[in-house]
Subunit: 662 residues, 2 copies
Amino acid sequence: MCPSAPGRPLDDACRRAVVLAVRPVVDGGRYPIKRALGDRLIVEADIVGDGHDLLRAVAIDRAPGTAAWRETELVAAGNDVWHATIDLPALGHHIYGVVAWVDSFATWRRGLEKKLAAGVDVSVELLEGALLVEAARAHADDPILAHAVTALRGGADRHARLAMATSEELLVAMRRAAPRANADRSPDQSVLVERRLATFSAWYEMFPRSTTSDGSHGSLRDAEARLEYVADLGFDIVYLPPIHPIGTAFRKGPDNSPTAGPDDPGSPWAIGGPEGGHTAIHPQLGTLADFDRFVTTAKARGIEVALDIAFQASPDHPWVKEHPAWFKARPDGTIQYAENPPKKYQDVYPFDFESADWRALWAALRDVFVFWCKHGVRVFRVDNPHTKPIRFWEWCLAEVRALYPDTVFLAEAFTRPKLMYALAKVGFSQGYTYFTWRTSKHDLEAYATEVCTSNVAEYFRPSFWPTTPDIFPEHLVHGGRSAFVQRVVLAATLGASYGIYGPAYELCEAVPRRDAEELARNEKYQIRTWDLDREGSLRHLLARLNRIRHAHPALQDNRSLQFHQTDSELVMCYSKREEDDTILVVVNLDPHHVHRAWIDLDLTALGLAPDEQFQVHDLLGDARYNWRGSRNFVEIDPDSAPAHVFEIRRFARSENQFEYYL
Amino acid sequence: MCPSAPGRPLDDACRRAVVLAVRPVVDGGRYPIKRALGDRLIVEADIVGDGHDLLRAVAIDRAPGTAAWRETELVAAGNDVWHATIDLPALGHHIYGVVAWVDSFATWRRGLEKKLAAGVDVSVELLEGALLVEAARAHADDPILAHAVTALRGGADRHARLAMATSEELLVAMRRAAPRANADRSPDQSVLVERRLATFSAWYEMFPRSTTSDGSHGSLRDAEARLEYVADLGFDIVYLPPIHPIGTAFRKGPDNSPTAGPDDPGSPWAIGGPEGGHTAIHPQLGTLADFDRFVTTAKARGIEVALDIAFQASPDHPWVKEHPAWFKARPDGTIQYAENPPKKYQDVYPFDFESADWRALWAALRDVFVFWCKHGVRVFRVDNPHTKPIRFWEWCLAEVRALYPDTVFLAEAFTRPKLMYALAKVGFSQGYTYFTWRTSKHDLEAYATEVCTSNVAEYFRPSFWPTTPDIFPEHLVHGGRSAFVQRVVLAATLGASYGIYGPAYELCEAVPRRDAEELARNEKYQIRTWDLDREGSLRHLLARLNRIRHAHPALQDNRSLQFHQTDSELVMCYSKREEDDTILVVVNLDPHHVHRAWIDLDLTALGLAPDEQFQVHDLLGDARYNWRGSRNFVEIDPDSAPAHVFEIRRFARSENQFEYYL
């Protein structure tokens, strides 16, 4: 019931400060905001009190697993807005809030000083001050306070009394000791602190069975050999589609044909066979020991392994027999398969999250994550989370994080925006986005602004993917290599997190299926061999791009993203900035033609003075240009380089010449 | 603790729908939104569910003092936003929220229809439907359900089974009866419903002691004789400054001079003398019986009486002796008077809201409101509420409303914006505003937009006053009659609530004090006589303005306020609209010169088609113009009429001619 509804009893003391709104906040505090380890959180609040008395306020926070509250003084920034910056030293849920109260001593001291300035007699005021100090002594055995009481009561001459009353020493002692009479405290808020990788990450998706050069079924050993290549490309995460036994019932053939031949390997997402389910390894990929080795080798190369968690079962999954209650039985005794009438997906049984045995099912699913965490995995790409209850994820991800707080979850939820955001609110670290289909300057700017810099960014972290095995968008079919370069530069610089589906992407594979927005000869259903040395590969560009991302803090967060106007609908310009590091990206959105444009830079966003001269250094192509002020010219030829990733370097004015800040 | 923090037990069932955000909302639900009796509240929520199952949702609400929840179906409006409109039939706090769940039957029926359309066998589906209907029968003894179970199970031929399965009758019965398995419910929200007068009101402030024509001390009987005049002017509320006994200790003389002569009447805000305090009547004004008569006569003329509640005491107030604990005693035994060092206000003792006896004090202050409510007063203008604890007001106003839910409170808080808004959040119906000092087009537009149409309007209701006894702003000193007309038209049409301090205002009294932003010979400290028939009086304009406000629903609410561009910084144009009623106001902000401007109307906001012809009829001056489309010309001479208040009349296209809609 609302506290101002009638009949609220007069049960609390007269609190005179009121904390009105603590920010940032998601859905009025129902869900946590998110930050990464090492981030500093700016806590802001509106705080008002009646009259003109001085207020004091602190941010209070409590790290996960600790009982003690830490305090940080809030500072008034004008218009009754107060703020403090707190660091976030541990993974997990930090709780924070704001406490405010009337600072009687500071108010008294201000009044005293005004009266002294006006030459008014202050003897009664000094006695009032003594009462305030006396009250504080009950809370702190500080000799300064005892001394002050004596002095203020007349145990010193006028000069000494006034010196004591207005001393910094007493003010500090009283700040420490004075009781916080009738303080107001905001409701607790929560911030989920995750690893830096949850914010800043480059993903490389690859099918481990497509890692041989002779067309045979690749193993985890073969995939392990591919890790050097992935490391050279500079990716942070290697993400494997499901590695579990694949069912044979209703197995799909090439390009999703309804019947499979005897040698067709099936879709890795049809999980489960006689060899096991979500915690087993597909025999042709190898053993758990091979997997452990794969993880170890990846780590040695600075790469994390991400697994694909797809909560569905092939009809051959052991749980179908062991736990029939976890599937939906139909009145005719059959098990409900996935369908989108009239389409049938008989190779896939969904779990029945509303089953009578749902508690056991939910626990078993959680334990799938826990199993792989025990094998060194801390990054999961979750398949279609939007077709499982949101409430399940809220519980499950919290359970996994309670054991392994360094776990990162990417939601593969290509669905309606509010549902994508709901999954982020309940705990997914990152989410796939509509970037894959956004191509016009207007659409890219509007979408990136929404997910990178609006309040959405408090809980949703976009991961930008130019393609996936499920999505090969139209603009790449005929855009040629330039389009591939353009899209991956956009992905890697608009978003602090991005990913590619390789090696198809860096090899600019562009033959589409006729009947679906996918590549032909889709790896989901068949083994492919890839010539990594194919001419035109983007491997060197990607390596450079990932190096730039690691070298430049500006590209490691999204909140500073700022678009700059250009006079061409096909030339897009934006910047990111982190303290002294400023990156300016200019992209030609047309893969076929040269475009020229005047750019109108927002110099404030770039930290540049009006009419200041500066150098832009293209970190991709190495060209350097000296620019001045806000209006500057670009010409971009997509054949040579569809995009510039400029570092902005200011000049240092020395006595007789300009020099670069280096 | 945040619900998604780790360790949240798996204690609830598998809720699949999630209600994400119910709107409108103030500070995440901490404070109620506000509406007036007769308003319809549009409840909006984001609701998502996993997968593609159909959802159903209802708004639930509970009128004050009732235990039963009412339900209103929510409708999906796209992008997972749902809304419903509910009426608010009673004064007080209505509680509302949203409940959402998966509609299994509707989902089943949609699947069945798809399969039927695709010619798929549906015999198992029909049995599944029978199970759903069977489950619903446990909740409702509806013969349709019993009949349907039999039919769906095969007790009818195929045609009859399908007819039953897809019948509207069964759908309706199932909507009524089907269990709401695992519904999600939002936190309760609150809306404070007040009288229409809280939203729409015209206030007339007058000093009852200044109602004689011979300079003698006026009485409530004299003031009563003035009510006919106020009624002719069309005001809804007559507001009297404090009517209580005035202290003699440290009484102020004319224009706030520190010493009063023997005949100086003193300031009505120095409340309390030997004759009584906040519940007594100043002897020269008359008796409680005279006051009751005043209230009765006002009511008979359609006017409500507003009293000024100023919670402070003169040193002669009976409470100073009866309840010394309610004042702040200083160490020298004196009582703390009001001060703003080095200024001293020795004629006023503030109450000590933090007194050891604060409960008794708070109750006594509440009882002041209750006392006057018992004498028929339901409107209070509260003096300086921002110098009393916000928490006190939250409690006190709720207490008064619990007894007299039709009470309206106006906060006289000329202070910082967030403090003004905090007072509105805790229960003040209306608040004074910065309108008094906003004069440029930009400032007026920005401020009116903030208080009339932003989220602030959910809880703060502005009352626009051109002047008060405390404030006579610079622009009226030399602006002449035109400035008085311009400011009152702005006040009465920008805001659904406004007020004037009369008769000084309608008589265009404009002689300022030299040393303060007030009128000279301020009525606060001396008795004035006013010649109501003085030439140039605005009485007829005010009467017309108030009649227009009552005749036009568009002017009775603020949320539709829309500004229209003009090409002059001195010509301001805005509209308000309520269904078919549209008012367009054009004001010349310069009281001295004729200005001409092209207006660029936002036709959508006006409900007009592009290039449509329409008539604008000046309800003040009676002139009519035929306009077409968005660009139209105005020329405004401040000497004849500084403002137009246009009613917009659309033409009805008849067969051979245009006619007006009348």
